[in-house]
């Protein structure tokens, strides 16, 4: 049994050693990798910039909409605020009740 165990593991090692032999291969040269690093980092910065711009745009739109509704239809604004408050309160109660049940 032990011999068989060693046998399949030995064959696995021999097979994978042979199949994955990279001893004759060269890694990419340093200049190419530096270019890759620079390119990826540039793309990352651009992506971060886009995400940030989108965030500010969404925030600006939300605040503008809220101010517009408040100035034109203060009642709607207050009703909306009330609804948000009730939802938050309800969510909090549900969360706390669930937590209490789990710990009991």
């Amino acid at each position: 049994m032990l011999m068989q165990e060693n046998s399949w593991e030995k064959q696995l090692k021999q097979g994978l050693d042979t199949l994955s032999d990279v001893s004759r291969e060269e890694p990419p040269n340093l200049a190419d990798l530096q270019m890759l690093v620079a390119q990826v980092q540039r793309e990352q910065r651009q992506q971060t910039g886009r995400d940030l711009a989108l965030f500010w745009l969404a925030a600006l739109l939300t605040v503008s909409l809220a101010m517009f509704v408040f100035s034109q239809r203060p009642v709607y604004f207050l009703v909306f605020q009330g609804l948000v408050f009730v939802c938050l309160l309800g969510g909090g109660v549900v969360w706390l009740t669930g937590r209490k049940r789990v710990t009991e």
């Binding site: 068989q4 021999q14 097979g15 990279v22 890694p27 990798l33 990826v40």
Partner: protein, 174 residues
């Protein structure tokens, strides 16, 4: 220069240090990916993706594991993602596994049958077998990289080994 020093520099924004790190580990990542994919061209693609992911996440590398282990975990994640995303599983199983990559003397080698059986295993079974029995990683590490419970890793490895040994049992019985 040691990995730790290069990592520290790379995390401070030194692109040369990061490029050196990636160069030093490129072939070991590729070798690893060949052993789990049994497909050199797929391994090459995934190695490049691993390098890109490492560049993107170098700031998040905590240094708890060795840098090479961190790269292996990224490579494993990418391979598992690619299997899930593109349903390569079926295609890999249907292909005559890695025969194009086998050296000329391979079909006569003792291990050729075992490699065929390894190639026929579903990749999500073959990967933990290779990680455990070729690289010697722990069940815990494999579970973390593959995003599955440790018990699942163990059962997949045991199942995989049973299939791999079946051929040896047959040979021994002849």
């Amino acid at each position: 220069m040691e990995d730790a020093a290069l990592v520290a520099k790379a995390q401070r924004g030194d692109s040369v240090a990061l490029a050196r790190l990636l160069q030093a580990h490129y072939l070991s990542v590729k070798k690893y990916l060949i052993t789990v994919t049994l497909d050199r061209s797929l391994a090459e693609d995934l190695t490049q993706e691993t390098m890109i992911r490492a560049i993107q996440r170098i700031a998040q590398y905590s240094g708890r594991a060795r840098f090479s282990t961190w790269l292996i975990s990224i490579a494993t994640n990418l391979f598992m993602d690619s299997l899930r995303r593109q349903k390569r599983e079926r295609r890999l199983q249907e292909e005559s596994v890695a025969m194009a990559d086998l050296p000329a003397e391979a079909p006569q080698a003792d291990w050729a049958d075992l490699m065929h059986r390894l190639g026929e295993l579903p990749r999500d079974v073959a990967v933990p077998v290779v990680l455990k029995h070729y690289y010697g990683y722990t069940y815990e590490e494999i579970a973390e990289w593959m995003g599955i419970p440790e018990g699942t890793v163990k059962s997949r490895i045991w199942g995989g080994i049973r299939v791999l040994r079946r051929g040896l049992d047959a040979d021994a019985g002849e």
